[in-house]
């Protein structure tokens, strides 16, 4: 009887120490699921999901406050990936948040730019350069096509242009589907 008690107490003590040590040694900072969701979002920071950026939306999804179908720039691809990650059923993109459209970049009509810096302040990824009363321009490679610079522009000199299709970024189209093809398992 006493041996059993001693052995059990000793075991409890040892495991307690191991658990206590691991809790410190392998401490997880933050919520890893938020990072995983955030990694799948397109990072346009456009706010079409009604959250102020991609990470807040990722946090909302992680907390179960938002469904996975509110990201128009990510579209079907992102929804499928999120469904895969979270083990939920894929949903159709919510039309209230917008429609999946072609990728665009902002272009400033430099003739008409008055140098008010309002678009610079609106750009979530610092992709516009310029200074007060100086012409501004967009760093095309960094522009996410979020449209956020459009509303503040007082002279309406920013256009969203679709990214040009070139031989380097061209994609083979999906061939026409076969009728009555069996479903993939």
């Amino acid at each position: 009887m006493t041996t059993a008690l001693i052995v059990l107490a000793a075991l409890a003590g040892i495991f307690g120490l191991i658990l206590g040590y691991s809790a410190i040694r392998f401490k997880v900072e933050g919520d890893p699921i938020v990072d995983q969701i955030d990694a799948l979002l397109p990072q346009t920071q456009c706010g079409q999901c009604t959250y102020p950026g991609c990470r807040p939306y990722a946090t909302a999804i992680a907390n179960g406050e938002a469904p996975i179908n509110q990201c128009p720039p990510g579209g079907e691809t992102t929804i499928l990936q999120l469904a895969d990650l979270l083990g939920v059923e894929p949903l159709e993109l919510n039309p209230e948040n917008g429609a999946e459209s072609v990728v665009t970049v902002a272009v400033i009509d430099e003739e008409n730019c008055i140098g008010c810096t309002l678009c610079i302040q609106a750009c979530p990824v610092d992709a516009i350069i310029g200074a007060a009363k100086q012409m501004h321009t967009v760093i095309t490679a960094e522009c996410t096509g979020c449209d956020l610079c459009l509303p503040p522009c007082p002279v309406d000199c920013i256009d969203m242009v679709p990214v040009k299709s070139e031989t380097s970024n061209w994609k083979w189209p999906l061939p026409d589907r076969v009728d009555a093809a069996p479903r993939a398992k």
Binding site: P42, Q45, V125, D126, A127, W170, K171, P175, V178, P182
Partner: protein, 549 residues
């Protein structure tokens, strides 16, 4: 290496090669205008060095390699640059790409040339790589990978075998065959240069056994040049034995690991035409400005092989091959298995263009696509040992992760599976679709990561600026408050106030001293006088007053 191995799958196809090998290589006429795309290779486009209006000489560099994986572009003939703009190019997308247009002057005047010739034996591998890079040489077997970048494996010192690919397994194409027949010595010398660069122990030239003339010609040339350490071997004709990995399997019995390169197992492959280009660069100081193109098929009058300047319009070649027959149905660049259809023949010949195949109308009619019946024939013929059927399901349902798990990227797009499919499913198109989609997603992911970094940095910066502003404001407020207190103190000893107070005191003292009674003290009632007395008493004796209170 005496015993040959074999690869799984593959197909025995009708060669249709005799069609175009009847005559010697014809030299294509110099066209009036050459259109030279700046991207004719895998990797980055070349950087343009010329301007509109410049007069250029044959062999002059028009655009310089912009990176390790890039290739220079040279003027195929002398003349004037008349345009640098987007032009239609031979690409499955049918899109335009940046091209340099050159109006030829008919003189075909060379730039100054200084060939090192036999002196290559005294040059180091890096000096020779420089020559190959400057000559803009790319792999002419089809992939157009910059040759200098591929040969950089010479640094590893682990290479033991050089395989020169003369298999040319795809039907109809015969440009390598005629080259081997007619320019065998040049090829052998090119191979010797490669041997010198790579310092390999074994060198094999592999040719399919349906080209006995080419084999005989190379053997003769090797004998004449006493190139004893070059083995010329005949391999069984079976498509796609000319695929790099398949050829290595046939010759050495070794398999290149998935996602790996032949250099990982000490082997390097080069095409016979690439060896010829290297010979030309070293012995003639001639950059890659021409190539041999097979013009063939069932809808052309005189199928033949042409030595063509890069940038020549395909329509010129077609007319020099006697023009289309009446039954013309379509034009394909490359062979019937791996080529792609062209919408027009008003496109320039590039370094990648090995064959122009004309199809009759009957050949272009594709049978109706039916559902997959899971017969498994595609898996039997796949030379890469993949599961084409599974890849098809996953690619068509956009389940790209699973497709990649099944090694989608080991698919060489040889087209065997599509050819044998009894339901005529264009399987390779699905794999191409999946591959380009995956690449696009990877690019997007990279861009998203970059955007996330920039956004996070911006948020940090905004927060920092806000904190700095608040700190500044706080300091300002503190300063203001301090100032106020000091002002209060200063007011106490303000000279103006002091003067006023002093004046008042003086007036009071004066009144007291004069003893003059106040004017309103006449004719007072008894009660009022009593009050005054009391007040006077209080004033003279304030302490007693306070005490009584």
């Amino acid at each position: 290496m005496s015993k040959l191995s074999t690869f799984n799958g593959g197909l025995k196809l009708d060669g249709h090669k005799k069609m175009s090998t009847g005559s010697a290589i014809k030299i294509a006429r110099l066209p009036e205008k050459l259109i030279i795309p700046v991207q004719q290779h895998i990797g980055l486009a070349a950087e343009i060095l010329v301007n509109i209006g410049d007069h250029v000489l044959k062999g002059q560099c028009l655009a310089r390699a912009s990176d390790t994986i890039s290739a220079s572009i040279h003027a195929p003939s002398s003349g004037q640059i008349i345009g640098i703009d987007e032009q239609p190019v031979a690409h499955p997308s049918g899109l335009n790409a940046l091209c340099i247009s050159l109006q030829t002057d008919g003189k075909d005047e060379w730039r100054a040339r200084t060939a090192i010739k036999q002196d290559y034996l005294n040059k180091s591998c890096h000096e020779l790589l420089g020559i190959i890079r400057d000559a803009g040489i790319v792999g002419l077997g089809g992939a157009t990978f910059p040759t200098a970048a591929k040969l950089q494996a010479c640094d590893q010192k682990t290479l033991h075998t050089l395989i020169i690919n003369g298999a040319e397994c795809e039907p109809y194409i015969s440009c390598d065959d005629v080259l081997m027949r007619e320019q065998a010595e040049e090829i052998i010398i090119g191979v010797q240069i490669l041997q010198h660069i790579l310092a390999v122990q074994n060198t094999v030239i592999a040719i399919e056994d349906n080209k006995p003339e080419a084999i005989a010609s190379l053997q003769k040339a090797a004998e004449q040049l006493t190139a004893k350490n070059i083995q010329i071997i005949s391999i069984p004709t079976r498509y796609p034995t000319g695929g790099e990995k398949q050829l290595i399997k046939v010759i050495t019995g070794k398999e290149v690991p998935a996602n790996g390169r032949p250099a990982d197992i000490g082997i390097l492959c080069q095409n016979v035409a690439t060896a010829n280009s290297i010979y030309r660069a070293v012995y003639r100081d001639e950059p890659a400005i021409s190539r041999i193109v097979t013009v063939t098929g069932n809808a052309i009058h005189q199928p033949a092989n042409f030595e063509v300047l890069i940038g020549t319009p395909m329509s010129e070649l077609i007319s020099q091959a006697g023009g289309y027959k009446d039954n013309i149905g379509g034009l394909i660049m490359g062979g019937p298995m791996m080529g792609f259809a062209l919408a027009s023949d008003e496109l320039p010949v590039t370094k990648a263009c090995n064959c122009l195949l004309t199809n009759s109308r009957e050949e272009t009619l594709l049978p109706a696509i039916r559902a997959c019946i899971r017969c498994g024939e595609c898996a039997d013929v796949c030379p890469a040992n993949l599961l084409p059927q599974q890849l098809y399901w996953y690619s068509s349902s956009k389940n790209f992760d699973r497709a990649q798990d099944l090694h989608l990227f080991d698919c060489i797009e040889c087209g065997c599976c599509s050819t044998v499919c009894p339901s005529h499913i264009p399987l390779v198109q699905y794999y191409r679709f999946a591959k380009t989609e995956i690449w696009a997603q990877e690019k997007q992911r990279e861009k998203a990561d970059q955007a996330r970094l920039r956004h996070e940095f911006r948020e940090q910066r905004v927060a920092r600026e806000k904190a700095e502003r608040e700190e500044k404001l706080r300091l300002k407020k503190e300063l203001l408050a301090k100032k106020k207190i000091e002002e209060g103190k200063a007011a106490a000893i303000d000279p103006k106030k002091a003067a006023i107070e002093a004046a008042l005191a003086r007036v009071k003292a004066k009144k007291d001293a004069s003893g003059e009674p106040p004017k309103n003290t006449d004719n007072l009632t008894e009660q009022q006088q009593q009050q005054i007395r009391e007040a006077d008493q209080r004033r003279q004796n304030p302490s007693s007053e306070e005490k009584t209170e």
